[in-house]
């Protein structure tokens, strides 16, 4: 089967991509759309460095075909924040040393963002369970958990202040 056109919505923009049925979403994102935030860490569906948001759910973009997500809304780390306008999670990861080499961080933050939508005030244990699909080989996770809890507290305080 040759290449087909698929329309996907990435970070709020409609994109028409041409892909073979066997093309994985992570390859479409990185190689065609030049969104190199989501990383390929393991290619065996274990590490979560490629995590993106698809229709409001965390998904490993290395374990889904682009063909499967035609018409869907995809958010990558690029859609969450930028160097000039960082997301609270990005600020907190920096503040609490939630990264060392940084390779897993885009997946960590994309997943953490969704986790805090699902559960805005998680306990430490809920953060660990909710982040179980994202592996980090540097930090030992302690500071990642701290960063996420700090982001949750700040986001909740901001929400309360707004109300």
């Amino acid at each position: 089967m040759g290449k087909q056109h698929y329309q996907i919505n990435v970070n709020g923009e409609a994109k028409d991509v041409l892909a073979e049925p066997r093309e994985l979403l992570i390859h479409t994102l990185r190689e065609q759309l030049e969104l190199t935030g989501p990383h390929i860490g393991c290619e065996t569906s274990h590490c979560g460095a490629c995590t993106v948001d698809i229709d409001g759910k965390s998904v490993k973009s290395c374990t889904v075909f682009t063909a499967q997500v035609a018409g869907k809304d995809i958010t990558t780390i690029e859609g969450l924040g930028s160097p000039d306008g960082m997301h609270v999670l990005q600020e907190k990861f920096r503040e609490h040393h939630g990264l060392q080499c940084g390779y897993c961080t885009p997946g960590m933050i994309t997943r953490a963002h969704r986790l805090l939508q699902e559960n805005p005030s998680p306990t430490e244990e809920e953060v660990r369970f909710g982040m179980a699909g994202n592996l980090c080989r540097c930090t030992g996770y302690q500071n990642i958990v701290k960063s996420i809890l700090a982001a949750a507290a700040e986001m909740n305080a901001a929400k309360e202040a707004a109300e």
Binding site: E20, T44, K57, V59, A132
Partner: protein
């Protein structure tokens, strides 16, 4: 990954004809096992038949005596479903503990059952609850469905459309996950209904999911953890690999069975 064709049929009949017309067709549901398998060149299907867009493939139907769950319902959907949580909370808990959040958002009940991985969680619930596997051709009792690791009664062009779980008065699942993969090293589903007890074990058996008659008899006499004290799990029937040898797994099965009984109350 090798080249493949992609089909997205809108009816079961179209899915079956795409599958039977293909040289080496495979059903694609959530793809959480199939894609990694294809990446490693352990599978190279000529055609993928994506069944998720077929109406009626997703959701939970409650007819009073049983819950029927569409084959393409994801683990996250089962875990969050209010009917499953009210009627078969042990099943909802099992679904909420499969893999990790991203896997649960894509992986489906039909895919897990059709694949029959020896360490998958759902086969234990299907066998433990005495569920019925509903396919494009027929209905298959759980006791006749699982035929050893990665092997089921399914024919090549047969598609699971739903699983029907009879309600139980008590039902719970306990597993000891491998800390890296989160697959069960031993998982035990215990269910009591009308005085009879079923105990299904996954992750540990050398030939995939199985029922443990000794535990079933002991628990039918008295549904308590201590009833399991004098039951035997044969280490020779267990998987033995770098994650744990047969004796270790045999012990884990007993410990998980007790935990499941305690959870089921």
């Amino acid at each position: 990954m090798y080249d493949t064709n992609y089909h997205k049929p809108s009816s079961v009949a179209d899915a079956v004809s795409a599958l039977s017309g293909a040289e080496d067709g495979k059903v694609l549901a959530g793809g959480q096992t199939l894609l990694p398998t294809m990446k490693q060149h352990l599978a190279a299907p000529s055609d993928l038949v994506d069944i998720r867009a077929i109406p009626g493939m997703v959701g939970v139907d409650d007819d009073g005596d049983a819950l029927t769950i569409g084959a393409a319902t994801t683990h996250a959907e089962v875990a969050a479903d209010p009917t499953v949580n009210a009627k078969l909370p042990g099943l909802a808990k099992l679904a909420g503990g499969i893999g990790d959040p991203a896997v649960r958002h894509m992986g489906t009940i039909g895919g897990s059952v059709a694949n029959n991985d020896p360490a998958a969680d759902y086969p234990a619930a299907v066998l433990g609850l005495g569920a019925t596997v509903i396919t494009s051709k027929r209905e298959i009792a759980a006791d006749d469905f699982f035929e050893g690791m990665f092997t089921t009664a399914l024919e090549d062009d047969e598609i699971i459309t739903a699983i029907r779980f009879p309600l139980a008065s008590k039902a719970a699942y306990a597993k000891f996950p491998n800390p890296a993969s989160r697959y069960a090293m031993a998982g035990v589903f215990v269910a009591e209904s009308g005085g009879s007890v079923r105990v299904a074990v996954t992750g540990a058996g050398a030939d995939g999911v199985f029922r443990h008659e000794g535990m079933e008899n002991a628990l039918s006499g008295q549904f308590s953890e201590s009833a399991l004290d004098y039951t035997d799990v044969d280490a020779g029937d267990m998987l033995s690999d770098l994650h744990g040898d047969g004796a270790y797994r045999a012990n884990l099965v007993k410990v998980m069975a007790k935990r499941a009984v305690a959870k089921a109350g």
